[in-house]
């Protein structure tokens, strides 16, 4: 695979190292002269000096044959531009953008820049995972594929406590895929009995979160996402 990475900051450099170690071809593009010189020694021909939002810089890096373009500069507008041009002008099959300011996430979505990854959002999800008073945790949300995996802690007063998995009439479009109990997880069988304090993992169609919450954590507040 050939990947172009715009921005040779900490994120860009580490991504490049990982990809190179997995035998992928990588070109890093960095617009700050000092930063470029600092990584040139390590990355040699795999780093180029230039502004990745300039079309000729992308072309010099061989964007026409790139399988993946990753924009991880510290500037959200630049990341949007690089990905938009890669996707729509050079018809690159895969793009990934970094969102620096989570308030800009909507802009990425509106302009079709997906997936867009925000460190703040990722950390927020980890906080939700670690702080159980949030009833519902989004573990994975693939918007394009319309697929979600959520985690719910089963409340004491949940209607499903004491029920066998086979007897729980969940709405269509969701499935219990794992139960975490006493620190370890297992795939439930049809006769597994749900207990209060269990954490259940469900795969579901988007939009079913609230309906599902009622089954396992009736008073839980779904996290706002």
């Amino acid at each position: 695979m050939y990947a172009i990475i715009a921005g040779a900051g900490k994120v860009g450099r580490n991504l490049a190292r990982e990809l190179i170690s997995k035998d992928h071809e990588v070109t890093l593009i960095e617009s700050s002269r000092s930063c470029y010189l600092a990584c040139e020694e390590e990355f040699e021909h795999a780093v180029q000096y230039g502004d990745a939002t300039e079309l000729w810089v992308l072309e010099r890096a061989g964007i026409q044959r790139a399988d993946l373009v990753i924009a991880v500069t510290g500037d959200d507008e630049d990341n949007i531009l690089v990905c938009q041009v890669a996707k729509e002008k050079y018809l690159c099959g895969r793009i990934i953008a970094r969102v620096n300011n989570p308030r800009n996430h909507d802009h990425f979505r509106l302009l079709g820049i997906q997936p867009a990854v925000s460190a703040t959002d990722l950390i927020l999800r980890l906080i939700e995972h670690e702080v159980p008073r949030y009833g519902l945790v989004h573990l994975l949300a693939l918007e394009e594929e319309r697929l979600e995996i959520i985690e719910l802690e089963v409340a004491d007063d949940a209607p499903t406590v004491g029920e066998k998995v086979a007897d729980i009439a969940l709405p269509e479009g969701c499935l219990i895929i794992s139960v975490l109990r006493g620190g370890s997880g297992f795939v439930p069988k049809h006769d597994t009995v749900i207990e209060a304090g269990d954490e259940v993992l469900l795969v579901l169609d988007p939009g079913l979160e609230e309906a599902i919450t009622a089954y396992f954590a009736p008073d839980g507040t779904p996290a706002a996402f």
Binding site: T53, E54, L55, E88, K89, R103, N104, L111
Partner: protein
């Protein structure tokens, strides 16, 4: 016509003043409060007294754009110092807020050309400068 101008530099502020003088309703958004002075410079009355609106905020902030009146804007001008910022906010104006006329200043001729093909009204001062230099050269040579 209600015109929203984002970026009150030399170009943005001059266009704002002439549009206001031409009888349009004009709102200006800039992240630097000092840029307001450019709107007052050379005028007998202050920008607000002449009927202009000024909002401090950054261009990508939805709240700032709404406060500056983007929802009722008939025309949108993106004239900040950043090409990429201008290109992104002009697309937001069109796609999120349905502004009909979005005009974008793009210094880089290559990006200006490509985004024009995508339906944005781009203006590239660099391109004009290049053409004028070339014309000046050839006319002097003649």
């Amino acid at each position: 016509m209600f015109i929203l101008i984002v970026g009150a530099g030399r170009v943005g502020s001059a266009v704002a003043k002439s549009a206001l003088a031409a009888g349009h309703e004009v709102s200006v958004l800039d992240e630097d409060p000092l840029s307001h002075e450019r709107l007052d410079a050379g005028q007998s009355k202050s920008w607000e007294d002449s009927g202009g609106q000024f909002t401090v905020g950054t261009a990508l902030e939805t709240d700032a754009l709404i406060q500056a009146g983007i929802e009722r804007a008939d025309a949108f001008i993106a004239s900040t110092a950043g090409d990429n910022t201008n290109l992104v906010i002009a697309q937001l104006a069109q796609k999120r807020f349905g502004v009909e006329k979005a005009i974008v200043r793009v210094m880089d001729p290559a990006r200006a050309d490509w985004y024009r093909e995508q339906g944005l009204h781009t203006i590239s001062p660099t391109k004009h400068a290049i053409e004028m230099f070339e014309r000046a050269l050839t006319s002097e040579a003649a």
